[in-house]
Subunit: 234 residues, 2 copies
């Protein structure tokens, strides 16, 4: 009974997709074994008759589920005897808000900083596609987007203050409390994405966000250490 | 059996404290009747032998609870047969993160913009205290902090994108999903605070955040309309 999580990969088997990372954590949270099968950007269209343009795709012994939220809901529905990803609708809704924070406040800063690094780590056959699609989205060349990014590090670090305050002023080990939950998996995916491709020190070494990220990498038998990464801190 | 929520008030019986607002919503969420008794800043020290320097304080028939988080936990513990504020530890932890976002990303923008307005709406006897304590915190005069604040509106509105995305891209009615929860009460408190004192149009009229705020004011028999306020939108 094979269980396959189709996963985005680039050179050196680096696994960069934040959406795939959260689904891998979700599977591990449920205690479900799986193979994280690597694909380049352009390989996605060869899966399941080209039905989907993005990863992750979960193939659970023939049941095919696309999209990280659909996968999370599928796992809670089909494995109700396993630890739940969502304790109820309020936790799920607040995970959505956490995602909105990451993609509303952080991703706009990070994507321009990382796009050239992602390109340079992509399989050579994926690079033309990646450059064209991302330059269209960014409205400028990957090189122009990356220019002066060292000067933007302080803005990025300041934008992380809600995450940092959760660990300091609020005294929590994880966004979800004493134990990591799906909100943590969503947030960690962003940093796993970044650490997969960039040598830029996104965080300062003594930032409480770094300590949380290391806790996240340790979880589930070191799931966050199963692919090559650069150091996230200076 | 009187139940009193000691509430911060200023001129015209405006109720400005975001912490008091969330506790009033928490009481209403539990279906518990209460009197929201008004006090000026300097009156707080006359309550309960000066044991506390801030509001809210809940006096539930002689059981005195200080601090909005302690009040929320007290209400769930002592009224377990009433609708829960927190479905479990994960929702509570994610409410803490929501608060960290508001106080890490929004309050630093809002406090300088609003401080002079709060001063001007405070009871005359409270103004010297308020000016001194807030100028110390802000590191400049209230007038200097408020200077040019119209130019900061675009930054403030951009900082609200996580909230906005939750209602648009994520399609939720409330931060907590289909029904308002404590995360919504925390967030609404910030806007109720602002609308109590400023004529500055913080939001644009067609902003989905405005529609959510109006839904929040309607809740619990119009609790958010029980004190005078200015319009939040242009």
């Amino acid at each position: 009974m094979p269980r396959i999580l189709h996963d985005l990969a680039c050179l050196d088997d680096r696994r960069l997709s934040p959406y795939c990372w959260r689904s891998k954590y979700a599977l591990a949270h449920k205690g479900l074994e799986f193979e994280a099968r690597p694909h380049g950007f352009l390989d996605i269209q060869q899966l399941y008759g080209g039905a989907h343009r993005t990863l992750p795709i979960l193939d659970d012994d023939g049941r095919v589920v696309h999209d990280s939220w659909a996968i999370a809901d599928f796992l809670d529905t089909h494995y109700p005897d396993r630890p739940p990803l969502f304790s109820g609708p309020a936790e799920r809704a607040l995970c959505r808000f956490t995602e909105a924070w990451l993609f509303g406040a952080l991703a706009p800063l990070l994507l321009p900083m990382l796009a050239l690094d992602i390109h340079d780590h992509a399989h050579p056959s994926d690079r033309a596609y990646f450059r064209e699609s991302r330059e269209k989205r960014l409205g400028r060349s990957l090189e122009a987007a990356a220019a002066g990014r060292e000067e933007q590090l302080s803005e990025l670090r300041a934008a992380l203050s809600p995450l940092r305050l959760t660990f300091t002023a609020q005294g929590q080990q994880f966004l979800s409390g004493d134990r990591a939950g799906y909100a943590d998996y969503i947030a960690a995916g962003i940093f796993l994405w970044a650490a997969s491709v960039t040598t830029l020190p996104l965080l300062e070494r003594d930032d409480p966000v770094v300590a949380w990220f290391e806790r996240m990498r340790d979880l589930h038998d070191g799931l966050g250490r199963t692919a090559p990464m650069y150091a996230i801190a200076a």
